[in-house]
């Protein structure tokens, strides 16, 4: 094991005693002006592929990596996000982002969550604060996804439609049903997340 303070520098990365800092980012970043230059489906595929490339950055534990992969796959393949927003009943008068913009901004959010800024540069404090916030948010989103998957595994016939298809757990009248009251923590979280998405233009 490397002792504290030893670093090994290669062409692609700097490895310190705590982490491997990747220097070449081209493989992970979306190309410039992607939305205008590529067809619709290709852009989605490019974002999806880059999301998957971030898998080893999210965590070293295979369980969290699996949760992340499942989450991204569900988001791209199965989820009906407009239906979820409608079910939540959150009123908004904000400009509606296109699906591609939402996909790109979500990818950028995930990229931001796995960044680390060099120590001692100007603005280091505010930038690392932003990075820390996005990393904590992503961790929490994955933890909530894990809770949802656990609940679905307990009783798929009842919980899958509630959590993944009809989104009835998120509706403003959910407190009237004792069945849906059980999902109160998930409801609060997802309502906050939808509002966050509206502010930032993402689709998390």
């Amino acid at each position: 094991m490397a002792s504290r303070g030893i670093t090994i520098t290669t062409n692609k990365a700097i490895t310190t005693s705590k982490s491997t800092l990747i220097l070449k980012h081209d493989k992970f970043l979306p190309p410039r002006n992607m939305i205008n230059e590529f067809p619709h489906d290709d852009v989605l595929r490019m974002c999806y592929r880059r999301h998957m490339r971030l898998k080893p950055f999210i965590s070293q534990r295979s369980m969290i990596q699996t949760t992340y992969v499942d989450y991204v796959r569900y988001k791209y393949k199965n989820e009906d996000y407009p239906k979820k927003c409608r079910a939540s009943g959150i009123a908004h008068k904000t400009p509606v982002q296109s699906v591609l913009q939402q996909a790109e901004l979500s990818l950028r959010f995930c990229l931001q969550a796995v960044m680390q800024v060099k120590k001692g540069v100007s603005d280091e404090r505010s930038v690392s604060n932003e990075i820390r916030l996005s990393r904590n948010m992503l961790k929490n989103i994955l933890a909530i996804e894990h809770e949802k998957a656990k609940l679905i595994a307990q009783n798929p016939r009842q919980n899958y439609p509630i959590l993944r298809e009809a989104f009835s757990y998120i509706s403003p009248t959910a407190h009237k049903s004792s069945l849906l009251l059980r999902f109160n923590a998930l409801r609060e979280f997802d309502r906050c997340l939808i509002r966050f998405n509206m502010c930032m233009g993402t689709k998390l």
Partner: protein, 278 residues
């Protein structure tokens, strides 16, 4: 190969053993791939390294998370909700603290400890969390003893359940009143200092008191470089005449990173009461 020829070869090699030297093969690459691709098997957590702060804005989100109230709420550490047994960020839950009781009220009943909700997210004292919903808390408040923090029953400090005082009404009526009192104070003190705040602060939260708006809504942002939408917190559903008088039918614009505790307090109160309002 026949036996005699093998024997001959063996003898020859033994005789010539001292003279021959094995020349090692030269590797085809300059550095071993073990070293040149060390990042692949270093086994350390990976990060994308940025050498300057500006490239973060180019590669990451173009908006500021620090000044977004929802980002702050969602990024708070996860705690277990004792009612639904699901983990959630602690800012979205009600904090319950086990403390020493006030002598004049509970001592008469012979209970030295009390289990009470606390709204300020303070540190210290054994703590547990329950859902921030008046419907759920009201439903389960009769079995509030189940919400006793698990650290109260460790091997070092064993607290008997009979020594803890708790009442169902502390979780709904008294809790709301406590929050309201603190909200009135915080809002009026904020309003006093609001005029002195510099103009450069981003105003991303608007407090209104309007019967036509929902409790929490979003409005198109005037400064699209910070966020696409501004949060509107409506105090009308709380139905408190004193607050309505303080707001006085105007829009109070706040900077959420400067007045974080006030914004969180309003959010928590609106979310707590949401089930009762609708």
């Amino acid at each position: 190969m026949s036996k005699p020829s093998v024997l001959k070869g063996c003898l020859e090699s033994l005789v010539a053993l001292e003279k021959t030297k094995r020349i090692p093969k030269k590797p085809s690459c300059d550095a071993s791939p073990l070293i040149s691709n060390f990042e692949n098997w270093s086994g350390k957590p990976r990060k994308l390294y940025l050498r300057d702060a500006r490239s973060m804005k180019r590669q990451g989100l173009p908006y500021e998370l620090n000044s977004n109230m929802f980002a702050q709420l969602l990024a708070s550490p996860m705690r277990l909700d004792k009612i639904t047994r699901v983990r959630a960020p602690k800012e979205l839950l009600v904090q319950i603290k086990l403390r020493k009781a006030d002598t004049d009220i509970s001592a008469a009943r012979g209970k030295p400890f009390e289990l009470r909700p606390s709204f300020g997210m303070e540190r210290g004292h054994p703590t547990s969390y329950v859902s921030n919903s008046v419907a759920l808390v009201h439903k389960y408040a009769s079995s509030a003893m189940k919400w006793l923090p698990s650290s109260a029953n460790s091997t070092i400090r064993h607290i008997n359940q009979a020594d803890v005082a708790t009442q169902p009404e502390w979780y709904s009526q008294a809790y709301t009143e406590q929050m309201l009192g603190s909200l009135r104070e915080a809002l009026s003190s904020t309003l006093m200092h609001l005029g002195k705040a510099p103009e450069s602060d981003p105003r991303d939260v608007i407090i209104v008191c309007n019967p036509q708006l929902p409790a929490i809504s979003l409005r198109k942002s005037e400064n699209p470089f910070i966020a696409l939408a501004t949060t509107v917190l409506n105090l009308y559903p709380i139905k408190d005449p004193e607050l309505e008088k303080v707001v006085n039918n105007r829009d109070i614009e706040l900077c959420s990173s400067k007045h974080r505790s006030l914004c969180f307090l309003i959010y928590r109160l609106l979310a707590f009461q949401a089930d009762r309002i609708i």
